[in-house]
């Protein structure tokens, strides 16, 4: 662009003659802000906040009601006692599977994010695209694909049997291992992307400085890299743990009836059994448990600003 381009005329004060000066674009009139926000805000109030209120209300309905006779609001707090008594197994199992998958994702995701951030060089963008690419293929199709890979007379099981790592009638499918492996696979990008965002911002000179100060690579990692990547670790684990705990597709397709998780129960109570109060109580319980766990975890990790 030409340097000699005529500069717009300015008044001596530095403002412009024809318009009121507006050097900074923010803050602007708040009315516009509200108008821009209103459509999305109202939509979320109507279809996220109000529904949750409905869910809580439904969970307190008289459990003896039905679709045909209608439900009566009796503040039946006993529903919560009942669902904990009847379904603590699937509830704990969902949390355990979610936690195990999150841990596995953290290990695999950290290696991958670290490689992309520090070792990929000019292949960085390509590798990032490759991280996301498989996940554009349907979740269900990919999970069914794992079902095929882990099948009883499949290549993987046969190999493990030849190596005697798995008994002759041992199997992978329909075991907790298959469910956790499926969850790990399906939620890996939710871990990799926040970790990468954190690691990419990390100044490699800090690691060099640590080695100048006689830290070995392991100490350098745990004293410098790991603490600085904590924000990514926290948001990655949350983004993985929350959906993994609520998911029931992996448990249903890769597990057996012994691996039913809370999501299976909620969905079947809602759509097959039409037992709305029980299903709603389970759903509220699941979200309260997750919120409590997230708050405790974030407190512990000392990164409240993330929320």
């Amino acid at each position: 662009m030409s340097v000699e381009a005529p500069a717009p005329p300015r008044t001596p004060g530095g403002g412009r003659a024809d318009r009121p000066a507006r050097r900074s674009r923010r803050p602007r009139g708040s009315v516009t802000g509200y108008l821009l926000l209103a459509p999305a805000g109202i939509f979320l109030l109507a279809f996220f906040v109000v529904p949750f209120y409905s869910l809580v209300a439904t969970s307190l309905f008289d459990p003896s009601g039905s679709d045909f006779r209608g439900y009566e609001m009796t503040y039946a707090w006993g529903n919560y006692v009942d669902v904990v008594r009847d379904y603590w197994g699937p509830l704990l199992r969902a949390m355990a599977y979610g936690a195990a998958a999150t841990a596995a994702c953290l290990v695999l995701g950290y290696v991958l994010a670290y490689a992309i951030a520090f070792k990929a060089g000019r292949w960085k963008n390509l590798m990032l695209v490759l991280v996301i690419a498989p996940f554009f293929t349907s979740f269900l199709i990919r999970t069914l694909s794992w079902k095929l890979i882990l099948a009883d007379d499949g290549f993987v099981v046969n190999t493990l049997q030849v190596l005697q790592l798995l008994g002759d009638d041992g199997r992978l499918l329909a075991t907790p291992f298959a469910v956790i492996a499926g969850l790990t696979y399906n939620f890996l990008p939710f871990m990799v992307l926040p970790l990468y965002a954190s690691l990419d911002k990390l100044d490699p000179r800090l690691v060099e400085a640590s080695s100048d100060l006689y830290a070995n690579p392991v100490a350098g990692f745990f004293k410098v890299t790991w603490p600085l990547s904590l924000p990514g670790v926290v948001s990655g684990t949350l983004l993985t743990f929350i959906p993994a705990t609520g998911d029931y597709i992996n448990a249903e397709l890769l597990g057996s009836t012994n691996n039913r998780v809370i999501g299976n129960v909620i969905q079947s109570q809602f759509t097959d059994a039409n037992n709305y109060p029980v299903a709603a109580a389970l759903s509220v319980l699941l979200s309260v448990l997750i919120v409590v766990m997230v708050l405790v975890y974030v407190r512990r990790a000392g990164t409240e600003e993330l929320l």
Binding site: P8, S24, R26, S30, G33, L36, L37, P39, A40, F43, L44, L45, F47, F48, V50, F52, S54, L55, T58, V111, L112, Y114, A115, I116, F118, K119, N125, L130, V131, I132, A133, P134, F136, T137, S138, L140, I141, R142, S145, W146, A151, Y185, L188, I242, P243, G246, D247, Y248, L253, G263, I266, Q267, F270, Y276, A279, A280, V284, S287, I290, L307
Partner: protein, 265 residues
């Protein structure tokens, strides 16, 4: 050996990346499969039949049509609402801003099964239990895509430099001209990324949809339904197509971004 030791992390990272592609490879392979039986699922022979007759099961293609229509409408709705909200949150200061941020964040931090059952509880309570179908699925999809759009567009907006817009204003562009000639083109990659994300979230959703679908069948619901009796190989054709198409779109967006960014940088 020394080379291996020096590049150990990179090799491990590549191994993880390869692992993420294993199921895709199986999907692509199976799309050319000529199975002996629908129940026993193994590679029995090569055929192009699945590719030539993708609609051998008409239910598959009608479900696919439903998913594409819902995906397109949900993408349009959530992208417009979400982009407006992102502008509000980045460019304006007003009371209740942090509450709004929280409202946007919460749906992403809620398990899908809770989102879906909440909506179902609302629809049942409003006497719409018999009306579940296309429109209730669409509402649900706009709802859960919205937050992802806001976050994506907000990140793009927040990372933008004011200087270009100020320069436009200094050069006597009206606020409308500044917006359409400077601001909008700069934010567009973010909006496109958000739209792509929305479409894939909507197209792929099973858990929320299953709770609010009534008798309407989307593509993931079709797959879920046939998974018990053995899936037709055409499902793998669709899976392969989705993979190829999304790669093409991602590359397209990337190329476009680069072209746009060169003169600015």
């Amino acid at each position: 050996m020394r080379w291996v030791r020096d590049n150990l992390v990179l090799l491990l990272g590549l191994a993880v990346l390869v692992y993420t592609f294993v199921p895709i490879a199986v999907v692509v392979l199976m799309s050319f499969n000529a199975p002996d039986s629908r129940l026993v699922y193994s590679f029995d022979g090569f055929t192009l039949d699945n590719w030539l007759n993708p609609c051998a099961d008409p239910d598959l293609c009608s479900a696919l049509g439903v998913s594409i229509r819902i995906g397109a409408l949900a993408t349009a709705g959530s992208t417009v609402l979400g982009t407006l909200a992102a502008f509000a949150l980045v460019r304006h200061r007003f009371r209740g801003r942090s509450a709004s941020n929280l409202l946007i964040f919460l749906p992403m931090a809620t398990p899908e099964v809770v989102l879906g059952s909440s909506l179902l509880a609302l629809f049942v309570a409003s006497g719409l239990a018999g009306q579940l179908g296309f429109w209730t699925i669409l509402i649900a999809h706009v709802m859960f895509c919205l937050s992802f759009v806001v976050v994506t567009v907000r990140a793009r907006l927040a990372g933008m430099d004011d200087a270009l817009e100020q320069a436009a204003m200094d050069l006597y562009a009206t606020p409308a001209q500044t917006f359409w000639r400077v601001t909008f083109p700069l934010v567009l990659p973010g909006i496109l990324a958000a739209a792509l994300l929305s479409f894939s979230l909507s197209f792929d959703d099973f858990i929320v949809t299953n709770l609010n679908s009534g008798n309407t069948t989307t593509f993931p619901m079709y797959v879920w339904g046939v998974a018990r009796v053995g899936i037709p190989m055409q499902v793998n054709v669709i899976g392969t197509l989705m993979f190829v198409l999304s790669i093409a779109v991602v590359i397209g967006v990337e190329v476009r971004n680069r072209r746009r960014q060169v003169p600015v940088a």
